[in-house]
Every structure is written in C-alpha cells, then in structure tokens.
C-alpha cells in the first residue's frame, strides 16, 4: 500500500477526531502539503461524521435558556448600536428636551424607579410561572409513570439497614421515576445524585440528576428521557456527592437496585 493510500485510509478517523496524537499530527502535515485527494475526501468525511448526531436521543432545552440568550442578545444590540448623524435642529430639540427633563428630574427619577420595580416584578412572576409549569409537567409525568400498568417497578435497597428502601418505576415511553420516604437529609454542601449504569461493556455510570429530599424526608425524581432504555440498563444507584453533582460517583452507592 502506498503512503498516499495509507493517508487516505486515515481521513475518516481524522474527521471523527479519533486519531492518536502522533498520527493526527502526521495527517495534518500531509493535508498542509496540499493533497487534493485527501482534502476532498475529508470534506465528505466531515459531513459523514455529522450524521452521527442522529444517534443522540431527542431532547429539548429549557425555556429559561432561550430567555437568557435573547436577553443577552438584546442587551448587546443596545450597547453596540451605531450612532447616527444628527442634524443641528435635532440637537436644539434635544437640548429643549434635556431642559425639560432636568426641570422634571424628580418625576423622571420616580418613574424610572417604578419601571424598574415593575420589570423586576414581571421577571419574578415569569420565573414563578415557568417554575410552576415545570413542576406541573413533572407531576403529570410522575402520575402517568406510577399509574400506567406498563410501568415496571424495581427495588433500590439501602446500603445501611436503618435507611428505608427506595423504589424505581420505569415506563418505556414516559421515563423513569425514583421515589422514597424518610430519606436522610444530606449536609447543606452535599447532594444526592442518581446514576444509571448501561449494560454495554466498558460503560461508566451516567449521572441522571442531583436531588435533595423534601423537608418531610420524601424524595421524588422524574427523568423524562433517560440516556439508556431500561433493557440496556444494568442498575440504578444513588450516591451522596458535593453540591452541584459529580461527573462520576465519588462514594459508594447509598441505594442501588438491579434493572432486570
């Protein structure tokens, strides 16, 4: 096989980003040398690699994210809007307006305060509404999972005998619900984190979400779109982690149950 052929065989892995460092450096050098055949193949390979995004389960970001982005974009638009050329007569009018504004400075200040207060109230109300909507959706989903006869129930025994057992209910379509009562409250700088272990060999535990029990010790977690379905899941577990959660468990499971 010629050197050219050897490079050509690396193009797909290069587009995927899976070449080891030394080979990747050699490939980059080859591409810099102006090989048209590999450059053309790379164009197609990059396209092919983006097809792999179809393998990701469909998911929807929160409305809060969109609100945050649009707010940032609008704020930046205001701050960089270019100044227009202003005719002299307009400056005179502006000066008159300024005098008027100064004359009414106190009223303007009060008005601004009122507007700011209203904006704050509106923002808080919208946040509350969004939170309530989200809680309502979660409660509905939980009820569907718990009442549908197609849901399967799994026990999550505790590692300590003084702790009560938790329960998981899993529905192929609606998702996963984990629940328990009289759950010990973690310290303020700690949280509980739910994990899923795929059956696929070589897999690592996948973090699903962090949660703290309610004041009465009850705990309900709803995962609408688990990253694996129940038939591909080996076990579920709950560990205690630093507040904010971890990407991999840092302690032994406090509750753990086999999914089979």
């Amino acid at each position: 096989m010629s050197t050219q052929d050897q490079y050509r065989e690396l193009v797909e892995a290069y587009a995927l980003g899976s070449l080891d460092a030394a080979v990747q450096a050699a490939m980059e050098e080859h591409l810099r040398s102006g090989c048209q055949e590999c450059a053309q193949a790379l164009e197609e390979a990059r396209w092919l690699v983006t097809r792999l995004a179809y393998l990701a389960p469909d998911a929807t970001p929160s409305d809060i994210l969109k609100g945050r982005l649009m707010q940032t974009a609008r704020a930046e638009t205001v701050s960089i809007r270019p100044k227009s050329r202003t005719p002299i007569w307009l400056w005179a009018a502006a000066a008159a307006v300024l005098v008027f504004a100064l004359y009414n400075a106190r009223e303007a200040y009060v008005l601004r305060e009122k507007i700011a207060s209203l904006q704050k109230t509106t923002a808080a109300t919208m946040q509350d509404r969004e939170k309530l909507r989200s809680q309502l959706q979660e409660a509905k989903l939980q009820a569907m999972i718990m009442t549908d006869p197609k849901s399967q129930t799994f026990a999550l025994p505790a590692s300590e005998k003084d702790w009560p057992q938790m329960k998981a209910m899993w529905h192929d379509e609606y998702g996963l619900c984990v629940m328990g009562h009289e759950i010990p409250m973690p310290k303020s700088n700690r949280t509980l984190e739910l994990w899923l272990m795929p059956k696929t060999p070589g897999s690592k535990p996948m973090p699903l979400m962090t949660v703290r029990p309610n004041q009465d010790g009850s705990l309900y977690v709803v995962v609408a779109h688990p990253p694996e379905d129940m038939h591909n899941t080996q076990w579920l577990a709950i560990t205690e982690e630093p507040a904010g959660g971890s990407s991999q468990p840092t302690g032994a499971p406090m509750w753990m149950g086999s999914i089979s």
Binding site: E9, E12, A13, L16, G17, S18, L19, D20, A21, L42, E43, E44, A45, R46, W47, L48, V49, T50, R51, L52, A53, Y54, L55, A56, P57, D58, A59, T60, P61, S62, L65, K66, R68, L69, M70, T72, A73, R74, E76, T77, I80, R81, T200, P201, G202, M206, P207, M209, P227, G245, S247
Partner: protein, 195 residues
C-alpha cells in the same frame, strides 16, 4: 424538528439558515431567535448526549449560540450548509467540557476560538427525504456489531482516541481502527445506496 434541520438544502439557493446568519451581522435579534428555534433542539440533544448532565449541557449550548451571535461572520455560507458547522462547533465545545484535563483537550483549548471548517454536503445526501435519512442512519448503525457501534460512539460522543477506545473496550488497537473505518464506510455506502 431535530431530524428536519440536519438535512442540507440545495447549494444553488440561499438557504433560510444562510439568510438568517447574514441578518445576524446586522445584530438582528429576531433572526437569532429564529435560528435558535430551528436548531437548539439538535444542538442540545447532541451536547446532552455527550455531557449526560442537563445544566452543564445548557451552559455549553448557551456558549455556542452566543459565539454564533457575536461571531456570525465566521460561518461562510458559500462553502457549505449551516447546521453541520454548528453541530461540529457544539461537539467540540461539549468534548472540551467533558475532558478538561486531557492532553487532547488542551490541544483543543488552544484552538477554542477557532471556528470549525465549513464543509459542503455530498450530492447523494441532497436527494434524501430528511426523516428517512435519520432513520437510515440509525438503522445502518444498528446493523453494525454492537461493539463496533460502541467504538464509533465512544469516538464521536466521548472524544476518545483509537488507543483510548482499545483500552476501554479491551480490544486490540488494530481491531478498533478497522471497526471505526469499516463502520463509517458501511454508513457511507448505505447512505449512497438508492433510497
């Protein structure tokens, strides 16, 4: 919606995405909102699959769209469709987040401000119905040996190198290389086949 947006448009026409990105250069917030509505699910789905953590995934998606908002000129519509470019940008960011301490990640961080290359769609893709195209990608990947498919997923969604995948799957390095190349070739051949 996620499936719809991955499909290329005819390169001879100005795509809706290209027109919207052009409007971003004039700081058009409405265009930004439309682009977000069209593609946020695709981007979020990919980033969440890589990071497996919703709040971190949202942070990365926010970074990606803000980069688009602030540097829209970095996308050259004449060189290829928008979404593959955006997904490549999102994947790079998500993998950076995933592997903060690795050598490969540091190399990527050095290039973090460099946008990914824009690349054109091959002809065979243009003719395919978008929903069938997604189904075909999934079904073609499902035809692979599960461990071969896993090797490709480890490379794409976790950013692992051949050696790292070989170690993770406890397979010889040569096997992993063949799996990945042959798997991608079979995917390409499957997509090229007449629908």
């Amino acid at each position: 919606m996620f499936l719809a947006v991955l499909t290329p448009t005819d390169s001879r026409e100005v795509s809706p995405d290209a027109a919207l990105v052009r409007s971003l250069l004039r700081q058009d917030v409405n265009a930004f909102e439309q682009l977000y509505d069209r593609h946020s699910r695709a981007v979020y789905s990919l980033v969440l699959r890589i990071l497996q953590h919703a709040s971190t995934a949202e942070e990365v998606v926010q970074d990606v769209f803000l980069q688009l908002w602030r540097n829209a000129s970095r996308y050259d519509a004449s060189r290829g469709p928008f979404l593959p470019w955006l997904l490549t940008l999102a994947r790079n960011r998500a993998l950076d987040q995933l592997r903060l301490k690795s050598e490969r990640q540091r190399r990527r961080e050095d290039q973090a401000e460099e946008p990914p290359a824009v690349f054109s769609a091959p002809d065979y893709e243009s003719a395919l119905d978008e929903k069938r195209q997604a189904e075909r990608v999934r079904s073609l990947m499902n035809l692979l040996n599960p461990r071969q498919r896993r090797a490709i997923e480890l490379a794409y969604f976790e950013g692992l190198s051949h050696s790292e995948i070989a170690e993770s799957l406890q397979e010889p390095l040569g096997t992993v290389k063949s799996w990945i190349r042959n798997g991608l070739m079979r995917l390409k051949e499957g997509l090229q086949a007449t629908p």
